[in-house]
């Protein structure tokens, strides 16, 4: 196999594969990227068996074929080359010779025979604008559980119903739900658990795509989910198991609601939580006579308190929350106003976008802390 490809194209596409390449060396070949040339195109594939990504770039082909070389080393090296064309030539012993201007390098590779075969993408079930998908992911991804033992919570639930798309994530203590109208074609009703890592890669793909309305073709087979964005394809293994019945834990109604300025609340929590326990991150939020007061204290090192003016005339209610949980929502919500719904110190609180003109549903339900 011998071909020439532009350095800029190569670096851009290889960058996308870095998050997917296996870091542990349990299966050595998974640290490699699979390079395949046919016609005038170079295809690059990386996988850790959970997640796979396939990208491509135009190439001038001298002879077709395939080979694998260490992904990380390749990117690190190519990145340092001058902006020019890079020539690849694979020899029979799987070594690759790279030539770029006056630079010449040989990299030890491995046979493509032992590289795992990625599944074929079935017929698309739906189309979603990449921008929409990415915004839904960034509104929910932080609520995914980091507890490995709760594997059905290690991803988000993706629901396609008629023309609405819903993404739900929870770690058992809080839950983020976002629901949008899909402007594109989504005829199918579909439900799947999308692993966190796949969501993170989709965010990366989105940030590398200028046209946020570009459509993502979405498909699924028994074990995998497929996201095709132009020439790039992301394949993820589905999470198996039952996602909890989230509708049951969504509060049906709220006793009280106050509207607050997002940035003001965020800044206050950030300051006050400096004096919360590092492990539990507990702060107290007190709603009383037109005032919301945030308070935290550490018996050994100090305490902090701030108050925000709000419109509230109900009874005084004091609720403990994990400051980190509140901050994560406040950093993800795009609207400048947020609504804080609550009942008492034992019941779930809820945050949602406030103000006028919110044309989608975004609910963030947080259980309090007993302090």
């Amino acid at each position: 196999m011998e071909f020439t490809v532009s350095k800029a194209d190569l670096v851009r596409e290889l960058n996308l594969s870095q998050g997917v390449v296996e870091r542990k060396t349990t299966i050595p070949i998974l640290s490699n990227v699979l390079l395949e040339v046919s016609g005038e195109r170079l295809t690059m594939t990386a996988t850790d068996l959970e997640l796979g990504i396939r990208c491509s770039a135009p190439a001038r082909t001298k002879s077709g074929g395939a080979g694998t070389i260490p992904a990380k080393k390749l990117l690190e090296y190519v990145r340092l080359l001058p902006d020019s064309d890079v020539n690849f030539k694979f020899s029979d012993n799987h070594w690759a010779s790279l030539t770029c201007g006056r630079s010449r390098t040989r990299i030890a590779g491995m046979s493509r025979e032992s590289y795992p075969e990625l599944p074929q993408m079935p017929e698309a079930l739906a189309q979603l604008p990449i921008g929409l998908l990415a915004s839904m992911i960034s509104k929910t991804i932080f609520a995914i559980s980091a507890e490995e033992s709760r594997f059905t919570l290690n991803g988000a639930l993706l629901l396609l119903r008629d023309r609405t798309v819903t993404v739900v994530a929870t770690d058992g203590h809080r839950l983020a739900l976002v629901e949008c109208e899909n402007p594109l074609d989504s005829p199918a009703n579909y439900k799947a658990l999308l692993p966190r890592k796949a969501m993170a890669e989709l965010l990366k793909l989105a940030s590398d795509t200028e046209d946020k309305t570009a459509p993502v073709d979405f498909a699924g087979d028994d074990n995998h989910l497929f996201f095709q964005l132009g020439p790039r394809l992301l394949i993820s293994r589905k999470l198996t198991g039952n996602f909890p019945d989230f509708e049951r834990v969504l509060p049906k109604s709220h006793s009280h609601t106050v509207e607050v300025d997002r940035d003001e609340l965020r800044a206050s929590i950030e300051r006050v939580s400096q004096f919360s326990d590092e492990r539990s991150r507990a702060i107290k939020v007190r709603f009383g006579d037109n005032e919301a007061t945030l308070h935290s204290s550490l018996s050994e090192s100090g305490e902090s308190e701030e108050s925000l003016a709000v419109e509230y005339g109900g009874p005084t209610v004091e609720i403990g929350f994990n400051a980190q949980y509140l901050l994560e929502f406040l950093r993800a919500v795009p609207e400048a106003k947020v609504a804080f719904h609550f009942k008492d110190a034992q019941s779930a609180g809820e945050l949602s976008p406030g103000g006028e003109g919110v044309d989608y549903k975004y609910r963030y339900v947080v259980m309090p802390m007993r302090i």
Binding site: S145, A146, E147, E148, S149, L153, T170, D171, G172, H173, R174, L175, P244, V249, R279, S280, A282, N322, Q346, A348, V365, V366, M367, P368, M369, R370, I371
Partner: protein, 400 residues
């Protein structure tokens, strides 16, 4: 308390009196000695020694199974007696306690008189002998009570602490084990007095912080970690654990997981007794060849519920056990305690609430009818006789 476990056993079976008795199990069983009577100790038997070694050293000894419930009961009785003497009582283990008698002179009289009254009342109420050491520091009190054994009282008068310690072997100092003893011998230090003559700076350079603690101890001061604390101020445990050594090494996954469930259940019960919520679960796994691994996992939320802790300990086990490999010992521990529940659950909120109520009822039944009255089904196959040690390894100030 003097030979606490054996003495308690003698109350239940007076025929054991004056004989060489080893508590821990049958002489050919796996596992270790929990306690030995003074007669058995003369033959070199001591706690934490393998039972088989003990039976070689002292073949005529009577080997009996321990009764942890009895020891706990009597430990509570001992505690009750001590509380009549001072509000500041610290149980350092099941059979060892520190009392702060500051300010009790008008009530109890001078130290020796108070100790004498205590000694008598202990015998009266519990039928057990104890030894009492009196001093101005916990450390010297501990050493003097050791010197007073069996059934004695020893008062080290203020100002004479260093003189009392000087002729003793360094090993007598709490915290000085085999390793430190060897290191000290290498520089020619055998007696506490030798140690006391050394410059603090020298010990600091040679042993770091521990060297400073050694210097302090040699002069009779409470120095180093636990001994720095006020009596009663460090009552709270930092971790709770249970472990089990199998009579026969096993690779039976069902038996192992069942044992794990039972051990975890016991841990959870003690956690609730102490009113703590734990954040970290630790698994201890010892293979046939004695390679031992401990693996810990920290939860996002602290808990004291059986099923949540069992889920964690089982996940740790499944992740770390090399399936098919024979296991000698299993242990489960919890640490990272919070006094409040902290973060409430959203998804399992009502399930946990039901579990909490059920466990509360179960704990009440256990309080009334004993620990074994209610057990989880998955732990039944793994319910082995409990073993406790008179001198648990790791407790402060314990000679091993």
């Amino acid at each position: 308390m003097d030979a606490f476990f054996v003495s308690v056993e003698e109350l239940f079976d007076p025929s054991l009196k004056g004989k060489a008795v080893v508590v821990g199990g049958p002489k050919d069983a796996r596992g270790v000695v929990s306690a030995a009577s003074y007669e058995a100790r003369k033959f070199g038997v001591h706690s934490a020694m393998p039972l088989r070694t003990a039976s070689q050293l002292c073949p005529h000894a009577i080997f009996i199974e321990g009764h942890p419930d009895r020891y706990r009961d009597y430990s509570h009785k001992v505690h009750a007696v001590l509380q009549e003497f001072s509000p500041k009582v610290e149980m350092a283990s099941v059979d060892e306690a520190y009392l702060d008698l500051t300010g009790t002179e008008r009530l109890l009289g001078p130290p020796l008189k108070a100790a004498h009254t205590l000694h008598q009342r202990m015998k009266q109420r519990t039928g057990l002998n104890c030894s009492i050491g009196i001093s101005t520091s916990k450390m010297v009190a501990k050493v003097s009570s050791d010197q007073a054994k069996p059934n004695g009282i020893l008062w080290v008068q203020p100002g004479l602490e260093a003189a009392f310690l000087a002729p003793l072997d360094v090993r007598r100092l709490p915290g000085v084990g085999k390793v430190t003893e060897e290191k000290l011998q290498q520089i020619g230090i055998r007696k506490v007095g030798d140690l006391a003559r050394l410059e603090e700076d020298f010990l600091h350079r040679r042993f770091g912080k521990w060297g400073l603690a050694l210097a302090g101890k040699s002069h009779g001061a409470d120095a180093g970690s636990w001994f720095d604390g006020e009596i009663g101020s460090l009552d709270e445990p930092k971790s709770i654990s249970h472990e089990h050594t199998f009579n026969e090494d096993t690779a039976d996954a069902q038996l192992l997981e069942s044992t794990l469930a039972r051990l975890t259940e016991k841990v959870a019960r003690r956690l609730r007794e102490q009113g703590f919520y734990a954040r970290t679960v630790t698994l201890k796994l010892r293979y046939k060849d004695f390679t031992t691994l401990t693996r810990a996992h920290t939860l996002a939320r602290s808990t004291q519920l059986d099923h949540e802790l069992i889920t964690e300990s089982r996940a740790l086990f499944r992740k770390n056990w090399r399936a098919g490999e024979k296991v000698r010992l299993l242990g489960v521990g919890v640490s990272g305690f919070d006094e409040t529940e902290g973060q409430l659950a959203l998804i399992d909120g009502d399930k946990n609430e039901r579990a909490r109520k059920a466990l509360k009822a179960i704990d009440q039944i256990r309080d009334k009818f004993g620990e074994k009255s209610v057990k989880i089904a998955s732990g039944l196959a793994g319910d082995h006789a409990e073993r406790v040690h008179e001198n648990p390894v790791g407790l402060p100030g314990k000679r091993k």
